[in-house]
């Protein structure tokens, strides 16, 4: 081998084209490591330096990060599934069959989307309990906890709206039961149900509304709240490291 492949990579990264895109090359100094975070549009929400203590797995079990990763998996599998799904009745069910039997990798993507959805609900609950038992909701992090509770609600809503889309017996009756519970709200319950379903019954209108909620409205709202949630972590001084004193001085 005349030149190891690493040398080609290094030359590429030092090239003018590369530097015009990525602005600062990689390097062995802390300056370069700092720039890798600070100059990256996706990563610059991170602080350039992290408290070493917070890297320990046992502290948070990385549940927040895993929730976000699962969300990314759901968005990408969801978008791919959307290419073969018509939100109409009864075509939706036929499309589910198509996805499972005729579309290449269709069954894999559907399974991945479904199991990731279950995992996501489980993970956000686990994340909430972990944050609580660590007392990471203490000031100044109170409002981030509130944002988190809203994110939990959005996760459940996303899961619920997605549940209708296959248009099978499971979907139909789960949503029927759920919408009847919604109508139990005093005063506005019946109206809520009517608006939610786009009618009095769970039919084509309901499917379309749930589809738009599931694929557009709720993901956009969730992304905004996730952004606030991450931003607040920075503003509140990073992840909670147990630095707040207890009121009765124990610990």
């Amino acid at each position: 081998m005349s030149k190891p492949i690493e040398q080609y990579v290094d030359e590429l990264r030092a090239s003018r084209l590369w530097r015009s895109i990525f602005r600062s090359g990689n390097g062995p100094s802390n300056l370069h490591r700092a720039l890798a975070i600070q100059q990256n549009i996706f990563l610059h929400l991170f602080s350039v330096k992290t408290r070493s203590k917070m890297l320990a797995f046992r502290l948070t079990w990385y549940l927040g990060a895993l929730s976000f990763a699962t969300f990314m998996v759901l968005v990408s599998t969801g978008i791919l599934l959307m290419l073969y799904y018509h939100p109409s009745v009864p075509q939706a069910y036929q499309d589910m069959k198509d996805l499972q039997f005729t579309v290449s990798s269709g069954i894999f993507l559907r399974n991945l989307h479904r199991w990731s959805a279950h995992a996501m609900v489980f993970l956000v609950f686990a994340h909430m309990f972990k944050v609580f038992y660590r007392s990471a909701y203490r000031p100044p992090r109170e409002f981030n906890w509130v944002i988190g509770v809203f994110l939990l609600l959005f996760t459940l809503l996303l899961s619920y709206t997605g549940y209708l889309l296959p248009w099978d017996q499971l979907s139909y009756w789960a949503v029927t039961v759920g919408s009847n519970i919604a109508s139990a709200v005093p005063v506005v319950g019946a109206k809520m149900r009517f608006l939610m379903l786009g009618g009095h019954e769970v039919n084509a209108n309901a499917l379309l509304r749930f589809y738009v909620l599931h694929c557009v409205i709720l993901p956009l709202v969730a992304v905004v709240f996730i952004g606030i949630h991450f931003w607040r972590i920075r503003k509140d001084g990073g992840l909670y490291a147990g630095e707040e004193d207890a009121h009765d001085g124990a610990k």
Partner: protein, 235 residues
């Protein structure tokens, strides 16, 4: 100090009119506390970044393996005429659906979830939740009496409505609560010392967590056609 001095002043003057100065008091309740910290730090890239990437990758690989091994269910096409028996919600709502068995939809579907969400939201705004010392460290006898009254009220409520699935976990947690009061102050090690040191918010949340798990488990495994009680190992 009545004559004006041309020398530089090194102390806060007592004459506020001639020499106004701003003095800032920083109390413990000042929010957005920024403190100089001397903790050891690591570079986010590569330390944090690669750790996150590894954990996330491992998890996604696990998800992919599960997706390759197990098929998501798909039943027959939606049929408005035929309701399956039982018609179960997705698992994370089965706890709620179990409650619906005992209480009317308004209570089980709106009031209780509404109270739960409200209670969750306000947790960080109550001082009692900032404590991290043991619940028994102050006013122990009084607290035992209050706890007994609350537990009794809950148990009566559950018994009256026959909600045994909620009654049993409540009794279980209450038992641990009262036993922990006897373990307190004895400098015990291990589980007993750990449990005795827990504050009130811990007990309330643990009760909620256990109720959530039990209700969901019952709704998932122990309910069959007509929402009747079934033993899953006998179906």
């Amino acid at each position: 100090m009545t004559e004006p001095s041309k020398a530089p002043v090194h102390a806060v003057s007592s004459d506020a009119k001639r020499d106004p100065r701003r003095v800032v008091f920083v109390t413990r309740r000042t929010s957005a506390a920024v403190r100089t910290q001397d903790e050891p730090r690591s570079m986010t890239y590569p330390e944090t970044f690669l750790r996150l990437l590894t954990v996330i990758e491992a998890f996604v690989v696990g998800l992919v393996v599960i997706a390759l091994s197990f098929d998501a269910p798909l039943e027959g096409i939606a049929d408005p005429i035929h309701t399956p028996n039982p018609a179960k919600a997705p698992w994370y709502f089965l706890g709620l659906q179990e409650l619906l068995h005992y209480f009317p939809p308004l209570v089980a579907g709106v009031v209780i979830p509404g109270l739960v969400v409200t209670a969750l939201v306000v947790i960080p705004y109550f001082d009692v939740n900032m404590e991290s010392g043991s619940i028994w460290s102050k006013n122990k006898p009084r607290k035992i009496r209050i706890a007994a009254a609350v537990v009794l009220a809950l148990c009566v409520l559950f018994a009256v409505f026959d909600v045994f699935v909620a009654l049993v976990p409540t009794l279980l947690i209450a038992a641990f609560l009262f036993i922990s009061s006897s373990w307190y102050g004895k400098d015990l090690k291990g589980f007993r010392g750990w449990l005795a040191s827990k504050p009130l918010p811990f007990w309330i949340m643990t009760w909620f967590l256990v109720e959530l798990i039990v209700l969901t488990a019952v709704g998932t495994f122990f309910r069959g056609p007509g929402w009747s009680w079934v033993l899953p190992w006998r179906s």
